[in-house]
């Protein structure tokens, strides 16, 4: 009897031992960990840290823009702020947090003990972390020996030839390039890991057709990361060659092409928006059925629509380039492909509505964030259709309309679903309601 008790009650002993560990041992344990839950939490905490930094940058920009002819910050600082805000939100907030949730939850949902490659997982996290540190080190190291501006100021899209040595002396642009190159390696590593885990590590009986939508959507997202981050990484290397070894890929003064950079950037940049939004869909697809007290409506159609979005979104990138003087045929093609993405996206919205329809909706905090997501994402999708009409884009492009559209997508689609996920899985992660 006493034996049985001691067998049944090891938890308090182990907890006491855990608490007794010296602080540095605990820190050491987190640094060397290859555990998917710990790495997932580190990704999320890292992303939230940069969310605060990018939020402060946005606040300073909004103060500058609050009244006309304001002199709160100089033009140079303003340009650095929008560059750093955009780069931070996409690469150091969005991607890490969604990788964090995928890391933590995907193995649990498919019945795997851990990710397929635990060490690659740790390596990828630390590469992403290093990328962020390199980007922000530009505030110290950017001026270099030239005394030029500190943080990068070329926009998050970094159009050539503004990034060439002639227009961006100093090292700030180099920190932007290398920061994203390094974090890109981390993204590719984690994406590879998620794809392998979901395809090869499912427990017996968990066929692809029975897999939770969360796992399905993160599989599609990760496959897209593998395809689209690589061109960006290649372009970053070409840009470094231009800047330091006299290559002329994008250096227009030596006959290079500014348009080639746009193609490289947007073949990454547009699918990247879907990379960020699909995990948001994944969260919504978990939470909406739970608080509607109904199963997800049209599971297989949801999977098919996501895969369709993944494929079609690889062929829409030049809708960011309607104003660069493409032929009418090229413009028409990208109008068609871009509007076509609206169809599977609409199917997803209708299926979430179908899930809520006839349910008993409990308006908890995660559910309210998901409803707000549906509303904002509806506006995001419709403004996207407006921008997809190329001639309308000739007027709207590069204006605050685009900024607003994009933030409807990513605040409504990503940030709101991240908040929903934080509230929804906080008890699971911490053991506290």
């Amino acid at each position: 009897m006493s034996n049985a008790e001691s067998v049944l009650g090891p938890m308090p002993v182990s907890a006491a031992r855990e608490g007794a560990k010296p602080f540095f041992d605990q820190v050491h344990e987190w640094i060397v960990t290859v555990d998917h839950k710990k790495l997932g939490l580190m990704y999320i905490i890292y992303g939230i840290l940069f969310l605060v930094i990018a939020g402060l940058e946005a606040t300073v920009m909004r103060i500058q823009l609050a009244i006309p002819h304001n002199h709160f910050v100089s033009p140079q600082v303003f340009n650095q702020l929008f560059t750093m805000h955009g780069t931070t939100m996409v690469f150091l907030v969005g991607m890490p947090i969604l990788f964090g949730f995928a890391n933590y939850l995907a193995p649990l949902m498919i019945g795997a003990r851990d990710m397929a490659f635990p060490r690659l997982n740790a390596f990828s996290f630390w590469m992403s972390a290093l990328g962020g540190i390199i980007l922000y080190f530009s505030y110290l190291g950017g001026p270099g020996l030239y005394g030029a501006g500190s943080a990068p100021d070329v926009g998050w899209f970094a159009y050539a030839p503004l990034t060439s040595q002639a227009f961006s002396p100093g090292h700030s642009t180099d920190y932007w390039i290398i920061g994203l190159l390094v974090s890109g390696v981390g993204s590719i590593g984690t994406a590879l890991n998620i794809v392998t885990t979901v395809l090869c590590m499912r427990c017996p009986g968990m066929t692809l057709g029975r897999m939770p939508l969360f796992a399905w959507l993160n599989l599609v997202m990760s496959a897209m990361v593998l395809i689209v981050v690589s061109p960006l990484t290649a372009a970053q290397i070409m840009l470094l060659l231009d800047r330091y070894l006299g290559a002329h890929f994008f250096d227009t003064q030596a006959g290079g092409s500014a348009v080639i950079w746009m193609h490289f950037f947007w073949i990454f940049g547009h699918p990247e928006v879907y990379v960020l939004i699909i995990p948001g869909f994944a969260v919504a697809s978990e939470i909406i059925p739970v608080f509607s007290r109904k199963p997800i409506f049209g599971y297989s159609i949801m999977v098919a629509a996501t895969v369709a979005i993944g494929f079609v979104s690889l062929g829409v990138w030049a809708h960011h380039m309607f104003t660069i003087g493409m032929t009418s045929y090229a413009n028409a093609f990208f109008v068609a492909s871009t509007m076509a993405v609206g169809v599977p996206t609409g199917i997803k919205i209708f299926n979430w509505l179908g899930t809520m329809w006839g349910g008993k909706i409990r308006l908890t905090i995660p559910m309210m964030f998901c409803i707000a997501f549906l509303f904002q994402f509806l506006i995001a999708g419709l403004t996207g259709i407006m921008l997809a009409a190329a001639p309308f884009d000739w007027q709207l492009g590069n204006s605050y309309f685009v900024v607003a559209h994009f933030h409807y997508v990513l605040i409504g689609g990503l940030v709101f679903t991240i908040f929903a996920a934080l509230y929804y899985w906080y008890p699971k992660v911490t053991g506290r309601m």
Binding site: A258, S292, W357, I371, I385, F392
Partner: protein
């Protein structure tokens, strides 16, 4: 629901189309030129379709949140568990596909009309070169160059005189955007783009660079002065005339020709043949300086020469560091360049 949609749309259309076309307040919903007009009509159609979709989907969302929320009197039993419906899926796939097809056809038509337009032989040819952070306008048919303020004749419906604009860049990417005349088109180094306008009414239409081009992208403003044919011809004649020479400003001219001014600026008939900055031959024929950052009057001009950073931080023009009396003499000379 359809009546509601139609009502909202008519109110919205009235709201955006009501104000008269004031060229000083750029508005994509008050077009004054054929390309802008085509875009305007397409945009109304797209807005109507999107507004209708918004009303339908938003109503469904609001209805389901209100109607299907859990009541206080709820018995705790599960609602009917429905896993999907192929008929519903088919409906909300086919209808959006049809909408997309219609939108695509409407869009493709406007793309073709604007991009593949043909020009009458009397079209005005202008070459625009984007610079950090100003506009150079070359009139190859007339053989002169000006800056920041593009002059074009008004285009009569009976006898159209469109202006065909070739777009080049001297440094980074820029974008030519005067919302009431046409959508934007980029100026990209190593690439020749083009666009066209045929303004129906006279006036000074404002616009700006619409592609981030460096530190002072925000103050790269743009003016298109649309004049009657007679006024335009008069302006052309004035621009083709040699620069004014007055003995009273000989001192200022000497300062101009013996300082770094000549490295960047051209004044026809003098040794100043620089191409990096705006042509100053008929400087005072322009309303603004520094690409619209300041008015072109004596005080601002003097301040601009003394320290451009005050008016336009990040401008590539250096402060000239001249003694005060030289600054006055130089300003006198520039003000004489009518």
């Amino acid at each position: 629901m359809c009546c509601l949609a139609a009502l909202c749309l008519s109110v919205a259309e009235a709201a955006i189309a009501a104000p008269g076309a004031d060229p000083a307040i750029p508005n994509i919903f008050t077009p004054a030129s054929t390309p802008a007009d085509s875009v305007y009509h397409l945009s109304l159609f797209v807005l109507e379709v999107c507004a209708a979709i918004f009303i339908v989907v938003f109503s469904l969302l609001a209805y389901s949140v209100v109607k299907f929320r859990q009541r206080a009197s709820d018995d705790g039993r599960e609602p009917p568990q429905i896993y999907g419906s192929n008929q519903m899926e088919l409906a909300w796939t086919v209808i959006p596909v049809l909408i997309v097809v219609v939108l695509f056809l409407a869009t493709a038509r406007v793309i073709h009309a604007v991009e593949d337009a043909r020009f009458p032989p009397n079209a005005i040819e202008v070459t625009t070169v984007g610079h950090q952070f100003w506009w150079e306008f070359q009139y190859p048919q007339e053989g002169f160059v000006t800056a920041n303020e593009l002059h074009v004749p008004v285009s009569d419906a009976k006898q159209p005189t469109p202006t065909h604009i070739t777009l080049l860049s001297a440094d980074t990417d820029h974008s030519f955007w005067v919302p009431m005349l046409a959508g934007k088109t980029d100026l990209i180094p190593n690439r020749t783009n083009s666009m066209w306008i045929d303004p129906h009414e006279t006036g000074t239409y404002v616009g700006q660079c619409a592609q981030y081009c460096g530190v002072q992208h925000a103050k790269m403003l743009l003016r298109v002065v649309v004049e009657s044919r007679a006024d335009f011809d008069k302006w052309i004649a004035g621009q083709r005339a040699p620069a004014q020479v007055a003995d009273s400003v000989a001192r200022g001219r000497q300062i101009f020709e013996t300082t770094a001014c000549v490295n960047c600026h051209t004044i026809a008939g003098t040794d100043a043949k620089g191409k990096f900055g705006p042509d100053l031959t008929h400087l005072m024929s322009r309303e603004t300086i520094a690409a619209g950052a300041a008015l072109n009057n004596r005080a601002d001009l003097r301040q601009w020469i003394k320290d451009p950073e005050v008016l336009k931080p990040g401008s590539l023009m250096p402060a000239m560091q001249l003694p005060e009396q030289d600054l006055d003499a130089l300003t006198d000379y520039l003000v004489s360049l009518r």
